[in-house]
């Protein structure tokens, strides 16, 4: 086994990923967890590159970090908009009605 500067890089990468995973599972704030998840995805892509799997790395960077993150964020936004005991579908419709009423007024 050959040790080089890359071995050090790998160790730091693994430790950072473990730490990030712990942080994102442990946090109370969902928004923070989503942001940490995106950064975890980027580091995971880096890890796939180190494991000589560029195909998986590309897919991970684009899907894991680039698309899952925004999907989570938009889900979070819709969750926050929903008032307690209200279905999300209703909240969308209510918002539309409010918007139309505002338009008629303005």
């Amino acid at each position: 086994m050959i040790y080089s500067i890359l071995t050090l890089f790998d160790i730091i990468l693994i430790l950072t990923m473990l730490w990030l995973a712990w942080c994102l599972l442990n946090t109370e704030d969902i928004f923070k967890a989503v942001v940490l998840f995106i950064s975890f995805g980027l580091l995971m892509a880096l890890a796939w590159v180190r494991m000589r799997a560029p195909d998986v790395a590309l897919a991970e960077a684009a899907l894991g970090a680039g698309l899952t993150g925004p999907l989570f964020l938009s889900a979070l936004r819709r969750m926050n908009r929903t008032r307690k005991g209200e279905r999300r579908l209703d909240s969308d419709e209510n918002r539309e009605k409010e918007h139309k009423a505002n338009q008629e007024q303005g």
Binding site: D55, L58, A59, P70, S74, D92
Partner: protein
Amino acid sequence: MKTEKKSIRRIRNRGKRLDAWQLLLLFLLLCLTTVLGTIIWTMPENTSGLTDAVARLQEQSGVESPVTAVLLNFRGYDTLLEVMVLLLAVIGAWSLAKAPFSGQAADTGPVQMGVVRLLVPLMFLVAAYLVWQGSHLAGGAFQGGAILGAAGVLLLVTELLFLPAIPALPLRIGLVFGPLLFVVIALFCLCLTGHLLGYPEQAAGGLILLIETACAISIGLTLASLFAGGHPEDDHPQSVNPTEHSDKEEWP
């Protein structure tokens, strides 16, 4: 007030004290980690796995990249199912809600508009390049499709006015285009060579590129539609006459 304080304290203490259920989960997780670690530790170091088998058949696959050869030729059936799963996800999202467009022009700054104008064509170019590159280097339908999807997300985030006005029918056709072409080619190969997705050797490269291009477009649309979070505006399942309803024709 007391109950509030109690609940706050409970939230703060969460994660510090473990109840029986959490202990059991922790134990199971440790077991799983131990098993996985043992497997990795006892794995013989220098096995090539299926690398040799793939390398031997590489010439017949029609592409130079071993990953693409496995994904679209040797194990094409898996990829077909993956594409179908994505399509199912969109059907699920569309049946739940309408895409929540605000219907008003968002106040996008000139910098944001400039970035969108510059980045979106570039992303299309990169996606096309990734699909093309899939035949000999890293890349392929999923990576290209993901970049296309990201371009769609960028457009959706900017809340451009033409997006809610996109009619449902072309969108539906775009969504099924890739999977449908994949199935048609698979059946065509079944008739021709007697194997599902057993491409004729001379045409394999071209067929794979065709499938990848179509699937990349469909995957990009799929991911962007998932981000939009619902079916388009002019798609009212309740208000449409059931005899005219075209859902059954398009989602077999």
